[in-house]
Subunit: 374 residues, 2 copies
DNA sequence: TTGTACGCGTTATCAC
DNA sequence: GTGATAACGCGTACAA
């Protein structure tokens, strides 16, 4: 009765020549390898072999199938691909305990959110926490973690040397490892998910420049031990680079290292220091301990502009009260979530893991913090 | 030989009592309804009936199954769920043409990125563009779009009344519709993906307050027609509310409406206006046309602080040059991407569509714009 | 070199 | 009220 021939197939539109009648149909069905097999006059198996370059296909068949694949820009349904995979993947996440530094609390939300999305796809997480002031604790926790042979590890490494060793060990043991929050090294065995810390320092510099116009700025590192210092150093270098680029003599910049009680190594008090340097009108605090300096400013009614880091409760309170001018949001939740998702999608869907994922660096004032807390 | 009994099942851990030996096993396999059926001693079909409340299940079976489901916190594999669904969903996205306003260009990137992720899952998009200065164009395009009966629509509605009508029509026709960038109304037929425009105005106010300390600020609306004004009005209200809350008399605030040539309705020039109001030291531009005011500032070497909107090329250039102090990023790309994804996940996985998704409002200076451009 | 049959987890349908 | 079974799209082991 009817004789029809496929005439042209592309982008889910299909033209059929039917008894001299040219019909243009908009396909509302997905193409499957079965469809392609039919079009090419071969079996599903052959299409699959072409799709995945498994060889053992005649040139003629390969050519015909390849042409059709290109015409319809076929991509196999990723959903069906891992249907068969009934394994549960274990992703272990290694990061500091929260009771010393609430900075890490949002990571727990990220883990919860991640589990809600990926649990039913067969990915589970396990938390390993370490003492943020003990390289030994980091190393031991990492080793016991590695001995459980997880499918992947996401770690926030505070200690450069130890992290290097852990990263190398995972590489040797063929365990996938990603780093977030603190970069280990540009050319390492691990990729990095987080912010550009150098640029982060430049942003702080620009903000203080905007706030002050000129003066004496103190870069303050609070309550961090030496090994932990890499990311603070990167921020400091970025900060200084801004003013070097500006090539102006309007600013004097000093660097201060304080313990958690805001004392200097030589036990000098901050109060004494500021009395000796009355020209200081701006402060850049390189960690989430910004509130400690802001409390100092509040107590002693200092005339200081303060730029610091992170949306921890105490910082937000002081930001609202006006004792902190700007915060830079390092967004640990986003970092952890993106890190976990990247690993999961690699395990599940074979998506590749980029060498580095640089997340935006948010500038926060008293009016826009709310949206970043979600 | 061995007699074993399930003793306890939870969270993929399973304890087995085997010849007086208590064994604790970590499951590495996913639970399936088949597993649950076996545990409960029923068939898969019965489990499914309980899972989806289809009734026709005996109380005893229901109780037993429910208990197991809760114990292991079972969630059906969403992947297998749509395996059967071989339909291609059509999401149409309706937004202004770009040649008048490059603000909309990033939406194209969002569409590309969306298609890369969702094409193979069976979702396609179609673009419908309208003339941003013609309500008629919006209405006609929307109607021809609706007549194609798509599965869902995502629209950026500039015109309040027309958008209301379109939204209502879709609701009557059972077409899912989402709104992004411009909110239509709090209690409408459509949900909203975008920023809190009132809060956005408050952020601009805080920034100018930080920059100036006191003075005379002009709120400038550039090149926008009356119908388009809703979002500018919301920003203006937010801006003023900040200073009302502050309850200080340090600022005077004026509102200016300009056409695209920066002339007033009465043809007065901006230059003349500023000469008559030499006390103006700050400007809040409510649209992405911020560069026009910044160019004016550059040309006439005015001493003005400028806060405006959006990372369009011209704005970024002037931001880097220092003629714009801060930009607020409305992030049209993110808005479009989140909008499309939300609709797709609803169509594919039955995820629900929240009444509103309020995205963060990014503060941009010359040092952090790069990361937001991706 | 190619085709076939089966399994994966879920759900709709049909038979009992 | 319940159980058995087919179907979905893909990958693969095995048979031809």
């Amino acid at each position: 009765m009817f004789s029809s021939t496929y005439n042209c197939v592309f982008e889910n539109k299909i033209s059929i020549l039917l008894n001299d009648l040219f019909i243009f149909v908009l396909m509302t069905k997905k193409y499957t390898i079965k469809d392609i097999a039919e079009m090419a006059g071969v079996s599903k198996g052959t299409v699959d072999r072409v799709l995945h370059n498994r060889g053992k296909v005649s040139d003629s068949a390969k050519e015909k199938i390849t042409k059709i694949l290109e015409e319809i820009n076929f991509k196999p349904n990723p959903i069906a691909k891992n249907l068969k995979n009934n394994k549960i993947y274990r992703i272990c996440i290694l990061f500091p305990e929260s009771h010393k530094d609430s900075y890490w609390v949002p990571c727990l939300d990220a883990i919860t959110e991640f589990e809600e999305n990926y649990q039913s796809l067969g990915v589970k997480t396990e938390q390993y926490r370490y003492n943020s002031s003990s390289p030994q604790s980091f190393k031991e926790t990492a080793l016991s973690l590695i001995s459980t042979e997880p499918d992947a590890i996401l770690m926030a490494p505070l200690f450069f040397n130890e992290a290097q060793a852990v990263s190398k060990l995972c590489h040797d043991k063929n365990i996938i490892i990603s780093t977030f929050n603190n970069i280990i090294r540009k050319e390492g065995f691990s990729n990095y998910i987080g912010q550009d810390l150098f640029q982060s320092g430049r942003i702080a510099a620009k903000l203080l420049d905007t706030l002050l116009g000129q003066g004496h700025i103190a870069i303050i590192h609070v309550d961090e031990i030496v090994q932990n210092a890499t990311h603070m150093q990167q921020k400091e270098r970025g900060f200084k680079s801004y003013f070097e680029d500006k090539n102006s003599s309007s600013y004097k910049i000093s660097t201060i290292n304080l313990d958690k009680n805001l004392n200097f190594e030589n036990e000098e008090s901050l109060e004494a220091y500021f009395n000796n340097h009355e020209d200081i009108n701006g402060v850049f605090v390189t960690t989430s301990k910004t509130y400690k300096i802001a409390e100092f400013k509040k107590t002693y009614q200092k005339n200081l502009k303060i730029v610091g880091y992170d949306l921890v409760d105490k910082n937000i309170t002081l930001l609202k009260e006006g004792y902190i001018d700007f915060l830079i949001n390092q967004n640990p939740k986003q970092q952890a979530f993106v890190g976990l998702s990247t690993l999961a999608e690699h395990l599940l869907f074979d998506k590749d893991i980029p060498k580095s994922i640089l997340l935006p660096i948010d500038i926060i004032n008293s009016e826009n913090f709310q949206q970043y807390l979600e």
